[in-house]
């Protein structure tokens, strides 16, 4: 163990400028992160230039902090580079595991320990007790900081210098871009992969990232190490791209009458012009399909997850794109929803005026309220076991409930009976819209992640937006929701009930009549 401290001291003497830079950036990050109420702080800055720099600092300080860690790890590991056969230290009586330990100790002392202290400080300053959160705080070190450290260690131990590391990082970024593009291509028509596959993918990736540096220190087999990382990551990518289940399997088809949400298409009015008010979204044209909604049980919500448009066999179907992601919430009070579907402008122009029989498939998820309760909004800051520490805030001229919660924002269903609230239903908002004409809902779905949200700040700042239910008619007046102290909110945990799929028909319709009109 004497070698560990001996080498650590040497590294500390050598890399003090990099250590200082990283600690200075951590101090800047802490200073910025202590503005817990992000939305409020943003609103308080009066000049647009101040707001710009405030937003910029929130984004770039963490980026540069992570960059400084990467640089520090690269420098300290490559100080005794494992690549090549000309290094001075290789023929000295270094014990490999003591050398590895000294590097890990360095990273622990100058990255993990200061960060843990900052996390403790942030939790404490935000008003959360430290002790009950200590376990999850330790767990948090195994999210983003751990991923950054492990990946950089793997990169540093298989490259000779900063130039090689930069090249390696470039290859990794390129592989990520290709992987994400392929993923977006394949994942549309695929359901969520099984848990086991997720575990195998994580095991392959993180296994190779963790084992290779140890192997490199023990044996210095650079080529084999690089091949191992590339091979395991490639296998993990391929495995994650395999569609183990299709949307049709995950979302079983239900007859409309059995569906917990009764959806029906509306007759489409013909546009007189050929392409009325064609919205310009680059090379895409957005089709908008209005549907009537009814039958959703109180205390439930149905989410539209994906949508697929098909036409009769024999008709030109080259323009349809299979399953595409949607994001619509259907609540008990919902009456009208507008589903959207992108079509390539080139394709659109060739078939816009042709009557087509459209078959619409929707993949939906039903959630139910669990443990519902009423929250009477107090004035000022208040603490809630489910929501965290919250307060009413104005954000971008809207009234929102801004909350702080350790590690991960909670899942919730929130209902605000705005017309019957003491907040008033006729006064105009800052956006010059009438307020509280309709019931409003807030929603955050549950996820299956157990770890804290990957990030550098243990205090998650989130806003609960209560969105009013869409008006039954497109001609009806739009409104805004304004919360106030004394308002009653119905809060519940969302409980997943089932996935299902329904099919709607839209016969003899021209695409040009579905294009979103500015007057909508």
């Amino acid at each position: 163990m004497t070698q560990v401290l001996h080498m650590f001291r040497k590294d500390m003497r050598r890399h003090w400028p990099e250590i200082l830079i990283s600690l200075a950036l951590l101090a800047l990050f802490t200073r910025r992160a202590l503005n817990f109420w992000e939305a409020e702080a943003y609103e308080l800055l009066s000049y647009s230039i101040s707001r710009f720099f405030f937003a910029l600092s929130g984004r770039y300080i963490p980026f540069f902090l992570v960059l400084s860690w990467i640089f520090l790890i690269l420098r300290v590991v490559q100080g005794e580079t494992l690549v090549g056969d000309r290094q001075w230290w290789v023929t000295k009586p270094y014990v490999w595991w003591e050398l590895l330990l000294s590097k890990l100790f360095f990273v622990f002392l100058f990255i993990s320990v200061p960060l843990l202290h900052v996390h403790l400080l942030l939790l404490h300053q935000a008003g959360f007790s430290v002790l009950p959160n200590l376990g999850r705080l330790v767990l948090m070190q195994f999210t983003l900081p751990f991923i950054v450290i492990a990946c950089t260690l793997a990169l540093a131990s298989t490259t000779r210098n900063l130039a090689q590391a930069l090249l390696g990082a470039g290859i990794v970024v390129l592989a990520l871009i290709i992987g994400l593009s392929l993923d977006s291509l394949f994942s549309q028509s695929a359901g969520d992969g099984p848990f086991l596959v997720d575990w195998i993918v994580s095991l392959l990736f993180f296994g190779s990232i963790l084992v290779v540096p140890v192997w490199q220190y023990a044996r210095r087999r650079t080529r084999a190490s690089r091949v191992t990382i590339a091979g395991c990551s490639g296998a993990a990518l391929v495995l994650s791209l395999i569609p183990f289940s299709r949307v049709e399997q995950v979302y079983p088809l239900l007859a409309i009458k059995d569906s917990p949400a009764q959806l029906a298409t509306l007759p489409i009015a013909e546009h007189l012009e050929n392409t009325p008010g064609l919205p310009s979204f680059g090379s895409a044209v957005v089709l908008s399909i209005p549907v009537n909604v009814s039958g959703i049980a109180p205390g439930s919500v149905v989410l539209v997850d994906r949508m697929k448009l098909t036409v009769d066999p024999g008709e030109d179907s080259g323009w349809t794109q299979g399953w595409v992601g949607e994001y619509h919430q259907l609540w008990p009070e919902s009456q009208r929803e507008s589903l959207t579907y992108d079509v390539k402008r080139k394709d659109y122009e060739t078939i816009a005026a042709k009557p087509l029989n459209l078959h619409i498939q929707l993949a939906l998820s039903e959630y139910q309220e669990a443990a519902p309760r009423t929250l009477l909004l107090p004035s000022g800051t208040f603490q809630d076991t489910q929501l965290g520490i919250c307060r009413l805030t104005t954000f971008v001229r809207s009234q929102v409930l801004e909350c702080l919660k350790p590690f991960r924002s909670p899942a919730y269903i929130g209902r605000f009976d705005a017309p019957n609230s003491p907040c008033g239903s006729v006064r105009r908002s800052a956006n010059n819209l009438p307020v509280n004409l309709r019931v409003a809902y807030a929603w955050a779905g549950p996820d299956r992640e157990l770890l804290p949200t990957p990030g550098l700040n243990p205090v998650v700042d989130y806003q609960m937006f209560f969105g009013p239910i869409n008006p039954a008619s497109f001609l009806a007046e739009r409104s805004e929701t304004v919360l106030c102290p004394g308002a009653e909110l119905r809060l519940a945990h969302p409980l997943f009930k089932r996935h299902f799929r329904i099919q709607l028909e839209l016969p003899a319709v021209r695409l040009q009549d579905l294009v979103e009109h500015p007057s909508f």
Binding site: T2, Q3, H6, K10, R14, G84, D85, R86, Q87, W88, W89, V90, T91, K92, P93, Y94, V95, W96
Partner: protein, 298 residues
């Protein structure tokens, strides 16, 4: 005699190129062994395999009784390694390098370190990156000698050094030789000749010979014969006669298997009119050049 270095059919290939080809090498403990050969002969590759810097493709090697592929960590506490193309910790000061190394070696001798620093006039407060090539080599040698290694491995240590520095290094090396085995690769034949006890000659990855200097000196002789002018030279000449030349009545060659009686018998068989035969001892450099020319001709 116990062996400090032993290789058996040691082979190292880089793709299709065979850098070291089935080398069998024995270096007895206490020897001052010089491995000589032209550039690209495979000397550095052998040393890198011995030091476990690169793995062997075939065959095996042992250093101080330990398989070279197992040499790592504390095994290096008995081996001092100096190479001309080794990367140094350029950012450190000379004093800091020695201070840093001190803790790695249980046998580090601070007195010897001080004496080497004094002898080599090492500037302790200067950074390694500003040192001259000679000074860097002195520092490397000082740090390789200060812990009384059982084996000192030197890869081309004298290349590009001025004679004064070379003499200083050799002098220190000889002082240590009493307690260590020294394995040195070099082209610098003149210096090696003055202190080597054993020599090996490597050519295109193959070890052509490996023997004690005294036996090598005995085995190689320059032979000069005065005889009646002979054109051309009789054929075939013994294969051990290298670079045969005739100029009028004078015939010259180098015998690589000199044995006074046998060589004389061969001479009188091939040159019956020989009147005067002289045998002269050769320097290592002349032997090396003769062998190099022979391989070029081949």
């Amino acid at each position: 005699m116990p062996l400090a270095i032993h290789t058996e059919q040691l082979t190292r290939r880089f793709g299709r190129i065979t850098a070291v080809d089935s080398v069998n090498l024995d270096v007895p403990e206490g020897a001052l062994y010089a491995l000589v050969g032209q550039n690209g002969a495979g000397k550095t590759t052998i040393i890198k395999v011995l030091m476990n810097l690169i793995p062997a493709t075939l065959g095996s090697a042992t250093i101080l009784g330990e398989n070279s592929s197992d040499i790592r960590g504390k095994s290096y506490a008995q081996v001092g390694y100096v190479s001309e193309n080794q990367e140094n910790p350029e950012w450190m000061r000379v004093g800091a390098v020695l201070e840093y190394l001190r803790d790695f070696y249980p046998t580090w001798d601070c007195r010897l370190e001080q004496s080497l620093v004094k002898q080599f006039e090492l500037p302790l407060d200067r950074k390694v990156k500003v040192l001259s090539r000679g000074m860097k080599m002195k520092l490397a040698l000082a740090s390789a000698l200060a812990f009384h290694p059982r084996l000192i491995v030197l890869d081309e240590p004298f290349g590009g050094l001025d004679p004064l520095v070379r003499d200083q290094l050799i002098e220190s090396l000889l002082e240590s030789a009493a307690e260590s085995t020294v394995f040195i690769s070099s082209h610098d034949l003149a210096e090696i000749e003055t202190f080597s006890t054993h020599v090996g000659y490597l050519e295109s990855g193959r070890l052509l010979f490996s023997e004690e200097m005294s036996s090598l000196a005995t085995r190689f002789r320059e032979v000069e014969i005065v005889t009646e002018p002979t054109h051309p030279l009789p054929s075939p000449l013994p294969p051990s006669w290298l670079q045969p030349k005739s100029s009028g009545a004078l015939v010259r060659f180098i015998d690589s298997r000199f044995d006074e009686q046998n060589t004389a018998a061969d001479i009188y068989r091939l040159f019956p009119t020989a009147t005067n035969v002289q045998f002269r001892a050769l320097s290592l450099r002349s032997i090396f050049l003769a062998l190099a020319r022979k391989s070029e001709e081949a």
